[in-house]
């Protein structure tokens, strides 16, 4: 009989092999990064443009990103789509506060042709009136549906008060924004932020060096020719903000504070603190609010990074009758992290967990590229993660208490509830 009540011995991780992608300069302000270590036929190409929602007049960025494949003077939108589909290519366009990303996924044998179609479509968009009208109608409908969700309302309300000092970071799309848009303004935005707005290009594929020359050349004309500007300091409006939704059966909570990104000396250690607090399944928030009290299906926190700054955010949806009780428990868990030593068992668990997750985020060429991109954005090399490993191994309970005391100041939080 085996001893089932004794855990098998655990072997800790010591080292992870990080691979830095190859860099090609597209212009003084734009690079292409290439990860060749792909074992199959897949190709991922990503074009990141200086075209996030904080750029230009409100909503222009969103509208232009939705119109990127809407047709040129020579091709209608459905022709572009059919050509891409015939090559088995998938595209995706996403937009964040600071950048927009156009991605192409396909197989190697079709990559050149698919990229040509995609780049041509992006560069030659004609902003035809009927396409613009279609886009406005469809986006408005999606907007109205999303607005019904308490989670979406809470996110918007949070964004408004978190970035209280910045008009462009806090602004929100409204229903009336879908009524009219000037085509001239769309064209001007496209000219500046796409035709001359390529921040970086990313390629994860097993291409030959000569194939790479083709790809690099097709990006060059769009490469940025000047530096971009991003918000450096966030000032939030602290306090409690509530939106009443009488029909909701749950309350969405979003709360947080402006914080920092990888460039700050406390970043890595704070990530360890916020993991203990709420960023894994066994976290304090999950153990207390889901596993002990059963108030929610899930609660978590995170540390999203921006170019020059970052913020800390806690997210959950809870039963309507327990939203106040949930806030009380969140506060209680913050206080515990300030005042009580972290039990050794828990700290060891989180250290091993974080190392295991880092290993997982470095598994495969695509994962490695993502890991790299999140350091490159702050001017660091992928070997930054060796530093992360050292911090995880060395951190102690006292340091966690200190960080919690410094950053978990309840009165400084922006707390939004919708329900």
């Amino acid at each position: 009989m085996i001893q089932r009540n004794i855990a098998p011995k655990i072997i800790s991780l010591d080292k992870i092999n990080f691979i830095e992608p190859k860099t090609f300069q597209l212009s003084d302000y734009s690079n292409c990064f290439w990860m060749k270590e792909v074992l199959d036929e897949t190709v991922r190409i990503e074009l990141q443009f200086d075209a996030g929602t904080t750029k230009g007049e409100k909503t222009l960025s969103q509208f232009v990103s939705s119109l990127l494949l809407s047709g040129t003077n020579l091709k209608k939108s459905n022709q572009i789509q059919e050509e891409l589909d015939s090559l088995g290519a998938y595209t995706n366009i996403e937009i964040g506060l600071e950048v927009s990303i156009v991605s192409l996924f396909c197989l190697r044998k079709n990559a050149k042709e698919a990229l040509n179609i995609l780049v041509d479509a992006i560069q030659q968009v004609s902003f035809h009136e009927s396409e613009v009208q279609d886009m406005l109608r469809e986006k408005k409908q999606k907007f109205l549906i999303n607005n019904e969700k308490v989670s979406v309302s809470a996110r918007k309300e949070f964004q408004k008060h978190l970035f209280a000092n910045s008009e462009v970071y806090s602004r929100q799309t409204e229903e009336k924004d879908f009524e009219f848009v000037s085509i001239e303004k769309l064209k001007a935005f496209h000219q500046k932020h796409y035709l001359n707005g390529l921040n970086k290009a990313v390629i994860v594929a097993n291409f030959s060096d000569s194939e790479m020359i083709f790809f690099i050349n097709s990006f060059k004309s769009m490469a940025k020719k000047e530096a971009s500007s991003y918000e450096t300091v966030i000032q939030n409006k602290a306090g409690r903000f509530h939106i009443n939704k009488p029909n909701a059966v749950q309350t969405a909570i979003r709360m947080g504070i402006p914080l920092f990104n990888k460039t700050h000396p406390d970043f890595i250690d704070f990530q360890i603190l916020e993991t203990i607090f709420g960023d894994y399944f066994g976290s304090r928030l999950m153990s207390n609010i889901r596993e002990d009290k059963g108030y929610t299906y899930g609660i978590g926190c995170g540390l999203p990074e921006l170019r020059n700054t970052g913020y800390f955010v806690i997210v959950t949806e809870v039963g309507k009758d327990v939203s106040e009780a949930t806030l009380k428990e969140i506060k209680f868990e913050m206080e515990r992290l300030k005042n009580e030593p972290i039990p050794n068992e828990e700290l060891e668990l989180v250290k091993n967990y974080l190392l295991g997750q880092l290993l997982k985020s470095a598994d495969g060429a695509n994962a490695m590229m993502d890991l790299f991109l999140s350091t490159e954005m702050h001017g660091k090399k992928i070997f930054y993660y060796n530093e992360v490993i050292q911090h995880i191994k060395n951190i102690n309970s006292k340091r966690i208490n200190e960080l919690a005391t410094t950053y978990f100041d309840w009165d400084s939080f922006t707390i939004c509830t919708v329900g």
Binding site: D40, D134, Q141, L144, N247, K293, G319, L349, Q357
Partner: protein, 413 residues
């Protein structure tokens, strides 16, 4: 080509090993052959509630997650109408931690009242978050009983109503475990950089002493052939009218299953699809339209769903939609369109198989279907579909008497 090896323990546990020399991780995936279709109609939502309880400690180990996290790993699970699937991903050198945890909960659970009470609350909050507190969130709770009259697919995995979850008691939990959770009702897949002999030894060590039970026979009521068009309208405080056309389709093992999958792509799989181009782009009577299949093991559904444009009516939509269906039923598809659909499937498969976790899950799933080798054959089934198959199958499926329509009428909030 995905390579794998197989063996079966004396207690009936089927084991698949997939060697991947490139990953520093190991995946331990366990599929139990039980889903919401196996539930009592008065105790629905139970397979899913039970999945939550599997994390509440087992007979010899008080907590499932903590030891796994301590080994650098992570775990999760999902329940569908057909199966319950659990997976662990962790650094390869700690494989035994996962085998220890998984084998112990296959042996027996701790069955604590506290865990049951809490998970009932958690699942009720999940019910609210996903089905009640979202616009159109309860559509599947209404559509399933419209499309199915007899088969247990008439309820969703979350359950028919919150009350069924509230009413669950410990004896139900124990009965469910004893009936469905046993080696003979499970398929285990281990994927990572190991030798087959090593895996065999480890699996024997942790799993061979779990007593065998007889695999429960599955006798589900057969859904009779639908002979008449069904229609239901519900009113909801939502921003726009929505529609769900549900057509019955063949079971997962039928060769026609793949043909219907391609048909759904042709109709509403993205921006080069027929319905998108005709109803959304051309006539502008919808602001969104999609077609997809439920992927069920027994007779599933092909769904066409979307939102109406503010000025369009359900009648207009109905007319245009059936016109497009007539077109696909009467004219053979051109090779050009068919190749486009096949090419997209090819790319999707290549990307899907990149992740070792999805390879492990799929190997278990195909083994459940009858043979894990299916994972390597599926692509050729798609490749061999020709326009003749398509028109033949579409005429069987896409007809009015085989359709159930749910309309969501938007009312002022």
């Amino acid at each position: 080509m995905i390579q794998f090896e197989r063996f079966t323990l004396e207690n009936g546990l089927k084991v698949i090993f997939h060697k991947d020399i490139t990953t520093p991780l190991v995946v331990v995936n366990t599929l139990f052959d039980v889903g919401a279709r196996d539930e009592d109609e008065l105790k629905t939502g139970f397979a899913h509630l039970f999945e939550h309880l599997m994390f509440g400690g087992s007979v010899n180990i008080p907590d499932f997650d903590a030891p796994l996290q301590k080994a650098g790993g992570e775990s999760n699970a999902f329940t569908s109408n057909d199966i319950t699937n659990y997976y662990d991903v962790l650094p390869a050198q700690n494989i035994e931690t996962a085998l220890w945890l998984e084998s112990d909960r296959m042996l027996s659970l701790a069955f604590t009242q506290k865990s049951l009470d809490t998970q009932k609350n958690v699942v009720i909050e999940e019910f609210k978050q996903r089905y009640l507190n979202q616009p159109y969130g309860d559509v599947w709770l209404k559509l399933r009983p419209l499309a199915y009259k007899v088969h247990p697919y008439r309820w969703a995995t979350i359950g028919k109503e919150i009350k069924h979850i509230e009413n669950a008691v410990m004896s139900d939990v124990k009965d469910f475990f004893h009936t469905f959770y046993s080696p003979s009702n499970a398929i285990l897949c281990i994927a990572g950089n190991f030798e087959f002999e090593e895996i065999k030894k480890l699996v024997h060590k942790w799993y061979s002493e779990i007593p065998s039970k007889i695999k429960p026979p599955r006798i589900l009521p057969l859904e009779p052939e639908q002979k008449k068009f069904r229609e239901k309208t519900i009113e909801r405080k939502v921003p726009s009218d929505a529609f769900y056309y549900a057509f019955k389709m063949p079971e997962r093992k039928s060769p026609d299953y793949y043909v219907v999958d391609i048909l759904s792509d042709a109709l509403g799989g993205g921006r080069s699809s027929r319905l998108y181009n005709s109803l959304q782009k051309d006539k502008k009577i919808v602001t969104e339209i999609n077609a997809y299949i439920t992927g069920s093991l027994d007779n599933g559904l092909l769904i066409i769903s979307g939102n109406l444009s503010p000025k369009a009516s359900f009648e207009e939509l109905d007319e245009c939609l059936w016109k497009e269906i007539d077109r696909i039923n009467q004219n053979e598809m051109l090779e050009k369109e068919l190749n486009r659909l096949k090419n997209k499937i090819r790319t999707a498969k290549e990307f899907q198989e990149q992740a070792v976790l999805s390879r492990a899950m799929n190997l278990c799933f195909y083994e459940l279907l009858g043979d894990a080798e299916g994972i390597n054959i599926e692509q050729s089934i798609y490749e061999n579909i020709n326009p003749k198959h398509l028109i033949e199958v579409s005429n069987k499926i896409l007809k009015k008497e085989n359709c159930s329509l749910l309309k969501v009428k938007a009312v002022q909030s």
